[in-house]
């Protein structure tokens, strides 16, 4: 157990005289009024049913706190997978222009990490028309469904059939084997203009890092 919690700590709600902090003689220590009030307040709030529950909760809190460094390490995952020549939409779709002038789309690494429980991926069939910023397919995980938003208007000319049997490919290789579909743009002339508004690698990286993360659960 760490001994960081000293009475000089500013956030300390209870002030104790430094000598009595760790209570060398347990039986002679009178529980101070502040501690009693604080404990009472906690119990009145109804979060704990008894002081004993409160104490065991405190032990859990402490154990949870000891695990904190690991969690911080988890947060700082880099994105080594993001290719430089890819473009990104705010819907976490990456775009690559193929040599034939078509658009290959897939889901980014950020999206992939929300798809650990992927159950299936369904793009619209070959030949169907898609419109810019409208869904052209759907990804299903165990609990949720996510729309795939098309970055441009056009026609679907290819879909990755491997994903239908093995949607897990998207977790392993979102940028290469995990591509989803190829779209032939309706208007080649305005294509360049449309793509200019999309994010480049560095922009996307910064943008993703700013996205709100849910707060870590206090145990």
């Amino acid at each position: 157990m760490s001994t960081k919690d000293s009475p000089s700590n500013k956030t300390n709600a209870i002030e104790l005289n430094s000598g009595e902090m760790y209570m060398p003689k347990w039986k002679t220590v009178r529980i101070r009024q502040e501690l009693v009030t604080a404990a009472k307040r906690t119990l009145e709030e109804g979060r704990y049913q008894s002081l004993s529950e409160f104490v065991s909760e405190a032990i859990r809190l402490r154990l949870g706190e000891l695990k904190q460094p690991e969690r911080i390490a988890e947060k700082q995952i880099e994105y080594p997978l993001i290719h430089e020549r890819l473009l990104y939409t705010p819907d976490h779709i990456w775009i690559m222009v193929t040599p034939e002038g078509n658009i290959r789309v897939g889901l980014s690494d950020y999206a992939q990490r929300h798809l650990k429980g992927i159950a299936g991926i369904q793009a619209d069939p070959i030949g169907s028309e898609v419109k810019k910023k409208e869904p052209f397919g759907v990804v299903e995980t165990w609990m949720f469904m996510f729309d795939l938003y098309s970055p441009i208007s056009g026609k679907i000319i290819k879909i990755n059939k491997a994903l239908q049997d093995e949607p897990y490919i998207i977790n392993k290789d979102p940028y290469d084997a995990g591509w989803i579909a190829e779209i032939k743009p309706n208007n080649l002339i305005t294509l360049e203009e449309e793509l200019r508004h999309l994010m480049k690698q560095q922009e996307y990286k910064t943008w993703v890092s700013k996205l709100g993360r849910p707060r870590i659960l206090a145990l």
Partner: protein, 445 residues
């Protein structure tokens, strides 16, 4: 904490929820793990007793909630809904693939019928290292769970996922094999199966579903023949109600085939588990009945329900099993929210059962225990009065005595003992105080 240190080897009492469960799920255990936010460990614990956490979470009729002691205060804990959500969160956070269990036994086991009873028996026997083959008449395994429960209550992919888990453990499932037409008890015995479990469900219902006139050719020795007034009626199969063994040695039967009516998935799972124990004993040449008739006592520490603060139910299961369309950011938020609510609901558990449920032997439980130094104890009785769980008693020698089954390690006795005769096994007094202060700090920061 090593397994040998665990003071609660003799599990002789159960909390009401576990006692009520036909499949003997360690409810208090998984709820306790959930309180600590250990979602994965919690599902693993459920899987120790049943192979279908997600299915039971959806369609079990939850006798555990009817028995829950919390109902004496306000409403029972949402035990079933919590099982649903922990199983879903586990799957949502990644596909679960267990390691196949190595085959340590050479005796082959055949299970006829891939419904809840048959699959549970196969699962339990595969975990023990037996090579198990399941024969199923329908094109897909799952039985009642797949073909009779509507999609709105139980999605097909949920069943497929749980069956895949059993297959990953090393169970072989052969579909499209009809008992009575392609298989019989004799043919299975000739193929070298040392034990057979018949779990084919209610025949009338299934032959209609299979669109077949074939009825299973069960030998008359298996059947329960009732002498009616007009004619001799063949009803269900006769088995020993304790061991589920039929009149033919090595042949067992369980599930709906015994009752002749749909009796609930959790009952079938219970039957599958009991059969697995019987088959294991049969193949090892042990007595099937020894030690199985004992009734385990039910217990709670709560003496006065009026003293317990009311906390209304926060979490109930969703009405339908549909998926919602969200964005990636929303999904992350919702998942965090669901987890928070689930932990809050788990905290409503009174943990009224004995400490045998704490999993201390499996290093999952952080619980502590009180120890009395009898040389210092003067028998003042303060600890007996203060203990909220009724775990302290005055022994015949006039000193305090800890009932290890009931002690939950709160440290209240240790804190109040005027002679400092009670200490905790793991935490020192200073540590407990540090923890209290840390908790208060966080609470009022």
């Amino acid at each position: 904490m090593e397994a040998t240190n665990c003071a609660f080897k003799n599990k002789r009492m159960l909390p009401p929820c576990r006692a009520a469960c036909p499949a003997d799920v360690n409810v208090q255990g998984y709820i306790a793990l959930l309180q600590q936010g250990k979602f994965k460990e919690s599902v693993e614990l459920v899987r120790k007793s049943i192979p279908f956490p997600a299915i039971c979470g959806r369609v079990c009729y939850s006798p555990c909630e009817d028995a829950c002691a919390r109902k004496n205060v306000d409403e029972p804990v949402s035990i079933r809904a919590l099982k649903w959500i922990i199983a879903d969160i586990e799957r949502e956070e990644g596909r679960v693939k267990p390691e196949p269990v190595p085959k340590t036994h050479s005796e082959k086991v055949a299970v006829v019928g891939a419904g809840p009873a048959g699959l549970t028996a196969a699962y339990e026997l595969a975990k023990l290292g037996y090579p198990v083959t399941v024969f199923e008449a329908m094109p897909e395994p799952g039985g009642t769970m797949r073909y009779f429960i509507p999609d709105s209550r139980l999605r097909k992919d949920v069943v497929a996922n749980e069956v895949a888990y059993i297959q990953d453990l090393g169970v072989e499932i052969k579909t499209g094999v009809l008992f009575g037409r392609d298989l019989s008890i004799d043919s299975l015995q000739n193929d070298g199966y040392d034990a057979i479990f018949i779990a084919i469900g209610i025949q009338k219902v299934w032959s209609r579903k299979l669109k077949t006139q074939d009825t299973p050719s069960l030998p008359p020795t298996l059947l329960n023949i009732e002498e009616g007034e007009a004619s001799t009626k063949l009803s269900t199969v006769w088995v020993d109600p304790l061991t589920l063994e039929t009149r033919i040695p090595g042949v067992f039967a369980g599930g709906d085939i015994l009752t002749g009516k749909a009796s609930g998935i959790v009952y079938a799972i219970g039957a599958g588990k009991r059969t697995a124990i019987s088959i294991d004993r049969y193949l090892n040449g042990q007595d099937l009945r020894t030690g199985r008739e004992e009734k385990i006592e039910e217990t709670t520490w709560v003496k006065d329900w009026a003293t317990i603060a009311k906390k209304p139910k926060r979490y109930t299961s969703p009405r339908t099993d549909g998926k919602q369309k969200v964005s990636f950011e929303e999904a992350e938020e919702r998942l965090a929210k669901i987890k928070e609510v689930a932990i809050f609901e788990a905290r409503r558990c009174l943990e009224c059962g004995p400490c045998t449920e704490c999993l201390g032997s499996e290093e999952l439980c952080d619980i502590d225990k009180a120890v009395v130094n009898e040389a210092l104890c003067t028998g003042c009785n303060v600890c007996v009065i203060i203990c909220p769980f009724g775990a302290m008693k005055k022994s015949e020698r006039g000193v305090a005595q800890v009932d290890d089954d009931l002690c939950k390690g709160c440290g209240a006795c240790s804190a109040c003992c005027p002679e400092r005769a009670i200490t905790m096994q793991r935490a020192t007094n200073a540590q407990i105080m540090t923890n209290v202060l840390a908790a208060l700090e966080r609470e009022f920061a």
